[in-house]
């Protein structure tokens, strides 16, 4: 009798666990970026980080066992991500056809990430009034967040933005990373340019430093 009651208890429990693991998979699939335990917990309706981690690890093990081109990884900061294994990426990358954003909004996004925290006013001044629309789109997509500070609206790039481009979540580090990569591009380009024409406009030099 004890056994049967235990069985009865366990069966729905197992189903629950399966459903929760599948929900974590669903979340990671749809997000396409690393998610933290809190976010995953909210999806499966659990506040226990320990439990969420356990379930996510079960999903990870399941993927390890499968013959799959996808993998679930646990990152150092206890976030989990579902992604394509790198050795498959090169073969299928060309099937991706749609950009995240069109040119205009992408420029506005890059500008915000570079100048963050930056007032909406400054973004509009630098990018033109069409940037209002871009900002709305970027906020909707979760790439930029807006904060009212006094009379100003302050914009900054979100963690989702950082994850998408593989940048640090820390705004200062993120900015430094951007500048470093940008400088290396700028230098390469400068070399190319100076090879083409030796006469360089002196005024433009310091401007490219930033």
């Amino acid at each position: 009798m004890g056994a049967s009651s235990k069985e009865q208890k366990e069966k729905p429990g197992d189903e629950d666990v399966n459903r929760q693991i599948a929900l974590i998979e669903a979340a990671l699939y749809v997000a396409g970026r690393p998610l933290d335990l809190k976010t995953l917990g909210r999806i499966i309706g659990s506040r226990s980080k320990r439990k969420v981690r356990e379930l996510a690890r079960m999903l990870m093990k399941e993927y390890e066992k499968r013959n799959s081109s996808l993998e679930v990884l646990e990152l150092e900061d206890q976030r989990f991500v579902l992604q394509l294994k790198t050795d498959y990426a090169s073969k299928v990358r060309r099937l991706a056809v749609r950009p995240l954003l069109t040119d205009g909004p992408l420029r506005t996004l890059a500008y915000i990430a570079y100048r963050q925290p930056v007032s909406q006013k400054q973004v509009i001044a630098a990018r033109g009034t069409h940037a209002y629309k871009h900002i709305r789109q970027l906020v909707e997509m979760g790439l930029v967040e807006k904060e009212q500070r006094g009379r100003n609206k302050i914009l900054r790039a979100t963690e989702y933005f950082a994850d998408y481009f593989g940048l640090s979540h820390n705004p200062v580090t993120m900015k430094r990373q951007l500048i470093r990569i940008l400088n290396s591009i700028a230098n390469k380009e400068k070399k190319k340019q100076s090879e083409r024409k030796n006469k360089e406009n002196r005024e433009s030099l310091p401007l490219n430093l930033y």
């Binding site: 992408l106 890059a110 990430a113 930056v118 990018r127 430093l209 930033y210």
Partner: protein
């Protein structure tokens, strides 16, 4: 076993509660109240429960009169009563389609982002943001050109001097700002220092920052000069 909920008279529940809550009654659009349905069901419910509550009936009647009054007032204001809810549509609008959720790898890379950033920066009004703390410093070029030429000749030396000074400040654990670096210097010296800073930044010996709404320039050691090295 009786809960508080069951202790309350039935007419305090929807749909009848509208007649017993004057505040709610005031807020609602009278055209949305189907009086005959509410009153009939109210009577039926009382019959079913075999309790005739004259006081409640009186209130219901009073509220109904109020609703009629509200309706006639709206009519007097030439406000059309809303069309009957189930009027056939001129054209059939199907229900919303829910798009299936599919992850899709997008083609935008960090390279694209940086190219976009370059474009954005090129078109930005850079002078507004990049002028040194006191813009009047750059507004007197005639005066500063000759000394700069001398300066350029000893640029290497000047750069290492300034870099040493910056490292000293960083070693002390202070934030190095441009104004701190030039404190006590004459205008011309300040300009020279600024130009050397630009050269240092160009060589990635340092990085320069500005915060929004501030003219201050912040200085950190660049990637070629990691914080720990004081060679």
């Amino acid at each position: 076993m009786r809960t508080e909920e069951t202790d309350r008279p039935f007419y305090f529940h929807p749909p009848w509660n509208i007649l017993f809550d004057p505040q709610m009654l005031e807020k609602i659009n009278p055209w949305k109240i189907n009086l005959s349905f509410i009153l009939l069901s109210f009577l039926e419910e009382m019959e079913k429960r075999d309790v005739i509550d004259f006081r409640a009936s009186g209130i219901a009647l009073d509220s109904s009169a109020t609703v009629y009054l509200m309706k006639s007032r709206l009519l007097l204001k030439l406000e059309e009563p809303p069309p009957p809810p189930r009027e056939p549509n001129p054209d059939y609008v199907p229900p919303p389609i829910i798009l299936p959720l599919r992850y899709e790898l997008t083609t935008t890379t960090i390279q694209n982002l940086l190219e976009a950033l370059e474009d954005a920066i090129k078109t930005e009004n850079l002078f507004k943001l990049k002028v040194p703390p006191r813009s009047e410093l750059l507004l007197a070029p005639q005066e500063i050109v000759p000394p700069i030429n001398v300066y350029l000749m000893e640029m290497e030396e000047q750069m290492s001097n300034l870099l040493r000074k910056i490292r000293f400040f960083i070693k002390e654990g202070k934030i190095v700002t441009f104004s701190k670096l030039i404190r006590g210097l004459e205008k011309l010296e300040q300009i020279r220092n600024f130009i050397i800073l630009l050269f240092l930044a160009h060589r990635k010996k340092i990085s320069l920052w500005q915060k929004e709404d501030s003219d201050e320039i912040f200085i950190t050691l660049g990637e070629d000069t990691p914080d720990g090295s004081f060679k």
